[in-house]
Symmetry: C2
Subunit: 421 residues, 2 copies
Amino acid sequence: MKELAKKTKEAAIALGATSIEERNHALLCVAEALEKNKAAIFAANRVDLESAESLSAPLKKRLCFDEDKLTDIIKGLHALAKLPDPIGKIDLATELAEGLELYRVSCPIGLIGVIFESRPDAMVQISSLCLKSGNAVLLKGGSEALNTNRSLFVTMQNGLREAGIRPEVMGLLETREDVAQMLKMDEYIDLIIPRGSNEFVRYIMEHSHIPVLGHADGLCHVYVDAAADLSMAVRICVDSKAQNVAVCNAAETVLVHEKIAPAFLPELKAAMDLKGVELVGCPRTREIIACGKAADTDWETEYLDYKLSIRVADGLEDAIVHINSFGSGHTDSIVTADMDTARRFMTLVDSAGVYHNCSTRFADGFRYGFGAEVGVATGKLHARGPMGLEGLCTYKYKLFGSGQTVQDTVDGFVKYTHKPL
Amino acid sequence: MKELAKKTKEAAIALGATSIEERNHALLCVAEALEKNKAAIFAANRVDLESAESLSAPLKKRLCFDEDKLTDIIKGLHALAKLPDPIGKIDLATELAEGLELYRVSCPIGLIGVIFESRPDAMVQISSLCLKSGNAVLLKGGSEALNTNRSLFVTMQNGLREAGIRPEVMGLLETREDVAQMLKMDEYIDLIIPRGSNEFVRYIMEHSHIPVLGHADGLCHVYVDAAADLSMAVRICVDSKAQNVAVCNAAETVLVHEKIAPAFLPELKAAMDLKGVELVGCPRTREIIACGKAADTDWETEYLDYKLSIRVADGLEDAIVHINSFGSGHTDSIVTADMDTARRFMTLVDSAGVYHNCSTRFADGFRYGFGAEVGVATGKLHARGPMGLEGLCTYKYKLFGSGQTVQDTVDGFVKYTHKPL
């Protein structure tokens, strides 16, 4: 395992020096290799599916890798090859002194460890994003998909070889023991991205000193202000909760200003009933509509299901305190016609996404126009919110001189100019 | 302690909503308060100095807080008030669909824990950077400076009160027990910045799940290429090593291309002898010049002293592998007249600063033109290298809509445009 991490890290350095043409060509070669080897991949997937008899239907659907998924993946690789190079972007250029020029230039992070669940297509998606951004990657997929993952992995490595890229830029882990070891390898691994259940992500965060980007909870709120358009508020609440309940950007709690609650809550209940959403509410909510009683734990529960908690708030400040106390810093939306109220909400709510008059479900890399997504980060450092290729890059300072020393500046031979270039 | 962290975090949210005029005014009020209360501060400092009889002269000098230091600090506060607002900068603006606009806007990180050493002026410097960037701060200074720190802290809080800013945006910790507790408060504290010895910083990094920005080691290199101008190379090596040996951006190892070593090393030795720098070298170095024998541990030792290790390298790739293996990712410089070689070095060396033909000592926030510095980060996430006000900011995504739902996009009523604004 240590040997694998070391080799992959060495390959990472070399990959960081490749041109965008080489990396894009490699993406297309990977696409071609997948197409060519599809019979073997589908066969491997059938073995996995056969051993997965006991799994639920949705899980089996996630595990399945067929012609349709392959077509999507190949389309994705072609689209990715067309995106601009995230590496080598200059975002700061300063002349420090005559002939002494400072540039801040984006570059790959290095070696990234990714742990993901049963979907085998995630392996191709994640490793191609890493390839595009010049990062090497260690991958650990779900054990149910072991055969499919192996087949995809070998095929992708063949595509890289074809393109003249060292196949060691990808490494495959297969056991939990491997993962436990990976979490300790801060010498080689620069970043870990876990994708999976809350408990799983929290476990990773607590057991590694390597930086982790991602999210455990996605506890999103919609706050319906006194100045909200009622029908807009209902539509936004319904979409935020019920458009897809199983995702991190779905809302779990609706907060409603006390002034508008008597008019709004019956309408909300009617709409949620139609979608089959179970409601639990605070005492003031239950004075207005019939619904279950919300326990204290409801405010901190990510249902990921057809269930919604509702609380009547005294006003904006109360709603903000609630969100900052119980939210997960993912995405929170306000519905109001009052722009000042909206701005105050968006400044004071301490989340990666703060929305005005739209659904929390927009928090997504594709919808943000990033082309692709490696995950959504709810921490505050480095990347925040949906992470595209940019989230896989860092920067370095390049300083070009002509013999300058700091003593020269002390002696006055070199004078700081600090001019933007 | 938990109560203090909670109160400070609440104050942080409010501080994040203040205008730049309010924050700049507060900086000037703090400057005025310090000037007015200087007699009491100097008296407190005399108490600390009297109990510090046993300390070495340089440490006592760091501990001393006198008229000169106060003048510097007040000048610094006025300069800081003139810098542009780091908050509210928009670095991405996209129309996602008609009437649905996404902005990525810089904002404060929140509550920052800073642990620093004996210099009491560091307290004013750090907390004023936090104030300017809208962050609340918990401060723990060296115990030798306890009385001075208390006096400065109370004075600064008075300045804040004068300016109408809640004084709770600053909190003071006084015991090691407080620090141990702080490291566990990931619920409230967003970031820890430790400034101190390698062992101390490493301890912090290993004992907290809160993100830590800073550096333990500063193990910088100068690589003298075959195509180097000899006298330039000597000057850069001398400055990098000896201009100030006690700092993180001083060089600890010089690598020299085997072709130029016979001509270069005698000149380097002559210059280093003049500065009183002790040399230790690899076997090939010792065939050319008389010097001590470098042990394996020398390549990973940050001397912070008049001592330098020297190794003859087979060439560029060998030098890069050495730096990436033994360096600390801080700052490394190449001396060469060959621009292709320089570019390759700067791409492949995996450090926050990669320099061409200049001294490693330029790695510093003031020299980079950032106006001020909170520290130098050698990690790769969030801030890298010298951190100015920008390093104390994160961003949030603000999405302004007019009732859009994701279901609308599925149904085709809302179409993605993804146009830059």
